[in-house]
Symmetry: C5
Subunit: 307 residues, 5 copies
């Protein structure tokens, strides 16, 4: 059964609520579930995700992301405004979500708790939408609960969510507990539930989390139950993580939705590290599970393999 | 005897003063005393307060808070704007208090003095009230006197109180001395009196404190005397703390009001960790003491017990 | 001889200059000297100054401050805006000075150089004055020269003084050299002169200092000479410090004015730690010396003693 | 073959897009490639680049930079607004790029991660352009990915790029991974590709990098491939570095363009450390390669040598 | 030969340029050279420069500065706005330069890199000028290249220079390399040239430096050559430093101008530590050299000596 269609958040004009509803319908493709294609890794992981190992050579070019998003049935494609400004006009049919903060992964270790600050202002984003005419459906922002810089990010998140809603835009929070105070616990199911509840309190429409693991480090979709409950009406989607086999991915995704009660997925590397035809087919398979509510076998038949 | 009805704070328009008076009357239910249901723990304690141990399974869902607040005779229900935006329209009869700052409890220990910053701006809050039509009666903000970040929080608190009053809203300060410089003294009666006096100087209408303890760590309502005196016309309410037996809670509350001269209570976990019927009944018992000025036995008759 | 009446500071409108002149006349009661009753200790010292030891029981209630200020011939009563908002309307005849920054004394020691930031904005203060109709004559702000946070406070002080003058308000600077870099020198006469000169450069109308001491820690009014000279047209007043006998206080005050050439006093604890009748009488005695230019014996006759 | 002419970034008015196109055409001199003369070293390296060793005596005077830029076929000359305000009117035909942030090289070593903040506001820049009538074609800003201060600089960069585009100005990012977390890796080809991809996500039109080196520290234009691919439609130009022989410079430049697929060069010291005639001739040789698409021998014939 | 009259900086309105020209003419007294009387030491050095040792007793009173500035042929007198607000109206003929940032010297040593922040805003300064009608010709600001806080000060400096020029005001930068990263090199001629070049890039009209010394710590006017060249059209003036004999001062000044090619001097202590008649005569001698282009012997005849 698909999640029911939510009402627009309170506290915005009727016109904004109408726009929010339309955006929600658009990104969930009428299913109540979201397939978000995440494409913010060129900052978050620099070029690590785009070359080497099993990464398809197509992925060296940023336009690869747009080609996939345009050809595949994604709910929305999330990336930074700069890339959108450069490629959006050539791919005008894609629903875009602007990732408003990003940081590199160069600063790490116990002495460098993560800090990721808002890039463009909401006024700049509003101008961008007005002048570009692109189909911008929402904004994304990453918070790191437990980071020494937590307070700064929670404030930015709360304000941009309120502003996004006032513009009729959706707000997606990437919620990753991290930092010296979090240590090894970042995939703990209970802490993950804390993160989704926090995102709900901030007003997020969707919260993207890393799927929780048990004390042996094993993922099990049933571990998601606490997080989905804690999020309440804020819908939970799992990050896809590093590339895995397409079939394993689909199985895990099916479990997250049907055993974990999540409302879709937000995946990046697993999509764009494949060649264009493979990536598009892979997106179709994800779409089958998330939006068409198919089973894994049916979805897997949509996959194509490189020669 | 009930505390007398206070005048609106000076320095605001006649219209704002009228609105402030109406809000004050509303939250004190004509009694001069406040029963504030505190529901900001999904950020402050993440999911720790909502699952496990004796916590009722109802509490895993954030809507539980709203169901209680709607069915029970609370003076106001305090929570973050994000949750309010998501559930408020379905519970339009509840008087809401927007908790404007919150932090997680992940950062602790001597190297992490608490810092909790304002989330939404007052302009965003005003828009929210305007467009939602919800019954927002005031704002809440936590200060941590003694934290290395004290100055930042005192400034935010002073400014938002002035702005809240200008909008005709009540201002409630959560005042918790904490940080390396405070150490073990956080429940000291004299320091608690310092905190209530500070809240009065900031302009708070109500100040929520943890009930003070003597040097053996024992709570005694008579220890509240200094804090209530120091607060002057700012009304003191005690936090409820972790769950305890309903009867013990009511006795302690009665003592705080009649021996400690506090003006009500602000309780969260003790309410929402119970099942819906128990929680509502418990609220009725609290209401009996705080608002109806009943004795403990009369109030306790309103309690219901789970099977 | 009384100090001559100063001109309004340059750089403000004729109307603001007129208001400044009226405020100056008001607080100096036509004498050119200021008797400032300081009542910001509920934040600065939390509840330490208000209970225990020889402190009169009246002082546990913040209204005690207003009762004294209303019944006694003080030049102005300085306190935080929050208290003023709560009690001001009941004591409308008092000339008030709004202390705009305050901090607690919980953070101390070499690792915690003092930081005290502005609470309300000047726009909020202007609204407060407009709507309350209270007799707000000026603002106060504490600087800590030598603190690691000095730069932040000097900037805030300079800006609020300019804004205060533009509104026709007086500006009083509390100047206390403090912090690890100052160490034991905080009462050094030469450093004190540095502080009064600094206040003059910031544009203060009055500067409140702790009376300097010689290398044995002894106060002598003649040690004030350098500081009064360095302040130029900015008038110097000494803080009263912890409670002492009323007669000693009056003698010291007389010396500060006649041997030290200061322009009055700014005292708090010495006033409000007494019972209401004693405190009012004590204020009359201070007024006799500061404003009426009487000698110590004449002034001392005005004192009353508790039973 | 020259790179194709790019479209203006999305999200700006048609008039701004037209101005952006004209500026792009102007700085690439119709070739799609950029020869940027970098003149921000008076801050970045203080006077180290301008005197001593083989530096021509002409270079001691800042006007030397303007004399070269005016006489030589540069695409644009980048310098700080202060110098431009002083010399621009005498050299009105030069296309200028305003370098908006700069820092000295005095703070270095592991305890001093680089921080370079925006100097003038965009409103000040817009006024400058309006009143001066100078041919300001764009702005420049340096980011240091991996610096502890990275977040602050990424935010400033993203905002000023959006503002620059809204004014029809080009945006050039100097992208230099640096800081304790980067250590010895700053010339690593893979990290360099991370930096160009990051600049693309910020929305830069051009990104200036230090040419990457292999593990032996050797430059090879083929190492640029990853960075140029990662940058996508953002054009990559290499910094010229410290002075080398003119012939070696031209060979390296030719390789960067034809083997590395870069879109020009951004050079400073190699130009201005020469005497006026040599510098102008050297610029003509660079222009021959970058804009006229000549080979090294043809370009080298344009060089002149000091007596 | 006198330096030629410079054009107004580009990027301001014709009216502002006209005002800038008039101010430039005024402070250089038609000579192209500047005699700036520096009077910001009451903050920078607290009371150290004003009492004790050979300091004339006149100097204990801040008005001494204004009496000298009014009676002596100074190009402008630089001091903080607060003093100006208090004394300016009584000395309306003096051309004033408002020193916009200042700090005390209490924080020193390797752990306390200097930080000096802007006091009044430019809007406050503009109001001050408008309402006071005083002859404010420009602003001053100190930067400390090499301080850990360098970035903050460079940004403030760049912005206030742009704003000053937009108001038709001159901008003078005090440029003092300092901090742990600078250490003993603060008087190094090459680093001094870096500082003057930096000031030029910020857009300063004049830059005040400490005269450079050779490796033995000896001042020689010829060491100024690099700094004067690096400053380009920004005029260099040397700080006067601690008091020395008037004749030695004049000789050194003559050398700085004629051998060092500086454009005047900025001196404070050497002037105001003398008695009123001596100070005025000393200023006349300085004026003779700086403005009248006299030799040392002629200038020295203007000196008077205390009894």
């Amino acid at each position: 059964m698909h999640p029911s269609k939510p009402s627009a958040p309170a506290g915005i004009s009727a016109e904004s609520a109408k726009r929010w509803q339309a955006h929600y319908e658009r990104v969930t493709q009428g299913s109540g579930r979201l397939f978000l294609m995440a494409g913010d890794q060129k900052v978050e992981h620099l070029n690590d995700d785009f070359v080497g190992g099993n990464v398809a050579s197509d992925d060296a070019d940023p336009e690869h992301l747009f080609r996939i998003a345009s050809a595949a049935p994604v709910g929305c494609f999330a990336t930074q405004l700069g890339l959108l400004a450069r490629y959006g006009n050539d791919y005008p049919d894609v629903p875009y979500l602007v990732k408003l903060n990003s940081k590199t992964h160069l600063l790490k270790g116990p002495e460098h708790d993560p800090l990721s600050l808002q890039w463009q202002t909401m006024a700049q984003l509003a101008d961008f939408i007005h002048y570009s005419g692109l189909d911008v459906v929402g904004v994304g922002y990453t918070i790191y609960p437990g980071s020494r810089h937590e307070a700064q990010m929670l404030t930015e998140a709360a304000r941009l969510i309120a502003d996004a809603h006032a513009l009729g835009l959706l707000a997606v929070i990437w919620a990753y507990p991290r930092g010296q105070a979090v240590g090894e616990r970042e995939h703990d199911p209970h802490l993950t539930a804390g993160a989704t509840g926090l995102a709900a309190c901030l007003g997020a429409d969707f919260v993207k989390i890393n799927p929780p693991r048990d004390s042996q480090g094993v993922q099990d979709p049933r571990l998601l139950g606490e997080a989905v409950a804690a999020a309440g009406r804020t819908q939970v989607v799992c990050a896809g993580g590093a590339e895995t086999s397409a079939e394993d991915f689909l199985k895990r995704l099916y479990g997250q939705i049907h055993d974990g009660n999540t409302a879709g997925c937000a995946t990046g590397r697993n999509v764009h590290q494949r060649s264009q035809p493979e990536a598009v087919a892979f997106c179709k398979a994800i779409h089958a599970i998330v939006v068409e509510n198919q089973d894994v076998d049916t979805a897997a038949k949509l996959l194509v393999r490189s020669a």
